[in-house]
Symmetry: C2
Subunit: 363 residues, 2 copies
């Protein structure tokens, strides 16, 4: 993305800090760090910290041998290195003092490790630390057109890779084989990604587990996957019957899940509370008698993280806004039998929910 995108994001970050009476944002490598700088150098045991004060900056503190790499990628011009035998936290303290001479409140990126947070707080003992989530979530929850374009591209690649993978399913393949095949199909289309593959009864465990079970005919195959295009994710689940004759119960459950998914899509308008989307889908599943088997929330936001706000879950009264991207993924999981989940990616528009992925057909 062009540098002006990041200049704009930094300006918005500063405005969010100011509105909350915060004086400085510190982020260790994460999607939030990447959102503001255009590059994620990766998290390791060596401290890298982005410092965004209310005025001036931003600056990055990093290992001295990483200065060159960090300056080459992304938009950070002010990168200061600490030596291997030196104290990274002292360098953060000195950099914060230089950029923000008066101690105040630091918003620390939410995923920063606990140990790192303790060391930062010790080095900057005059400062108060708070969770930066309100700032970073507000920055990212409504997607700009250039972000939606990348998510669309990730979705296209994911769907093409899934179609190719389902077409190659064969008796004897393991869940792991299929997962690798899927990743390769994504790579061949220019994206890194992968997902969970579950056969038969294992499909009844959301998020599955590693498995070496071999595929047999006349069974359920669930694939939940996504890929990343320039930092933006897709997330799609398809559950299909492998064989000639889908069991009657599979067909029935599949269609209930599909209807539940549709109910939320049809309900959503700008301002619809997230929990109402969940309720709309849940109502369809409960009416069909499968209520206790829909064991998770309806969906989650999608962007630089595979799961991010807004969460479509009971208790979340947040109203959906145009530009919010989220999944709609009801499921019915009957332990010992099989599970069905159908997941599509959606964006809220001025007139309602636009489904970004190509939906599955009812059976």
């Amino acid at each position: 993305m062009p540098p002006e995108v990041f200049a704009r994001r930094l300006d918005r970050a500063r405005a969010e800090l100011e509105a909350r009476k915060l004086d400085c944002l510190i982020a260790t490598p994460s999607t939030n760090y990447e959102y503001l700088t255009g590059y994620n150098p990766g998290r390791s045991e060596r401290l890298i910290a982005l410092i965004v004060p209310l005025r001036g900056g931003p600056a990055v503190v990093c290992p001295s041998f990483e200065v060159e790499r960090i300056k080459r990628h992304g938009v950070i011009a002010d990168a200061r290195g600490w030596e291997e035998e030196g104290d990274p936290y002292a360098l953060v303290r000195d950099t914060v003092r230089r950029l923000a001479p008066r101690a105040g409140t630091i918003a620390l990126e939410s995923s920063t490790g606990y140990q790192t947070s303790l060391r930062l707080a010790a080095a900057l003992s005059g400062w108060k630390f708070v969770d930066a989530a309100p700032v970073t979530e507000r920055l990212r929850i409504v997607k700009a057109p250039e972000e939606i374009a990348l998510i669309r591209r990730a979705i296209e690649i994911t769907q093409a890779a899934m179609t190719a993978t389902f077409a190659q399913l064969a008796v004897g393949m393991t869940e792991r084989d299929v997962a690798r095949l899927l990743s390769r199909e994504m790579q061949q289309r220019g994206a890194e990604g992968g997902g969970l593959v579950q056969f038969g009864p294992s499909s009844a465990l959301p998020h599955g587990g590693p498995a070496a079970a071999a595929l047999e005919r006349e069974t359920v195959v669930l694939i939940d996957c996504g890929c990343r295009v320039r930092g933006y994710e897709s997330d799609i689940t398809r559950t299909a019957w492998f064989g000639d004759s889908p069991a009657a119960e599979f067909r029935k459950v599949f269609n209930v899940v599909h209807d539940a998914q549709s109910a939320a899509m049809e309900l959503g308008r700008p301002g619809t509370p997230c929990q109402d989307m969940d309720r709309a889908a849940r109502k369809v599943i409960a009416a069909a008698g499968y209520g206790p088997f829909f064991t998770h929330r309806l969906g989650h936001g999608l962007g630089m993280d595979g799961h991010e706000p807004p969460y479509l879950v009971e208790g979340n009264a947040l109203g959906l806004e145009p530009g919010m991207v989220f999944t709609d993924e009801p499921g019915i999981y009957q332990l010992g039998k099989f599970g069905v989940r159908i997941e599509d990616d959606c964006v809220m528009t001025a007139s309602g929910v636009e489904v970004l992925s190509q939906r599955a057909s009812k059976l």
Copy 2:
């Protein structure tokens, strides 16, 4: 690994807690969580927490739809689920109170996210929180024979995959192509893994960056990679000349780096301070006139994390003990020209350093 391994590890964890007057360990999914339970359910926005009190337990708090998955893998029998619309932190509080009725000090796993740490501290307001690193590092820093066996297997696979990859290098391949090929060679040998591939001048940037440069003849190829076997890592770097006639300077630098690596290997005995290993290698490089170009520490511990204690770095006086596994990886990086790093994996034994990988030959 058999369940008794984990029973032993939990006993050792409790002994470490007791010795430090700590009352409870809490770990979110991480290698520390996996070390104690045999399974890493993965970190996400949904709280999963392992609770190890001084007596009784352990218990895991997780999303209710994950209870089944967590009980199936690893050794946790006591897994309690919170509902999607519920409060995971209240369930952690109730579980801690049940297992450790008197408030005291909680050691919180170091990589736990900052936001999670704040929420745990708020839910368990009568408790004091400290970093669990002294406990977890002591548990893991000396490897048991069954751990070293897995690291050896990861090293074997990595070396075979690297050999196969170097043999397939061809003009026109990009760094990314070679990285994918390498991952595939590892997968074909039964392990997940990968690494960094750097051609020519880009080899002078430790940790590189994403690159699409195409391979030409008569240049340097640096591959730094590893794979995981049942949770245990390898980490090996080879720098080679692609073409017929290695440049004289490449040959010279390569042999200096090789000698530096040997110097540390020959010095190490039980009790040798980590920093002395670094100094021994650095002395060789400085004597050859390349001192300023060896910009990072000599090495790091290796186990369930690719980088973990002990760190072979100036300022670390910790003495090496039999069973500690670490890398020996000096490098010389001349920006605008090329970089050479040679990395092998070692274990300290009663009589000195045993090199677990097959070293490169001098040029």
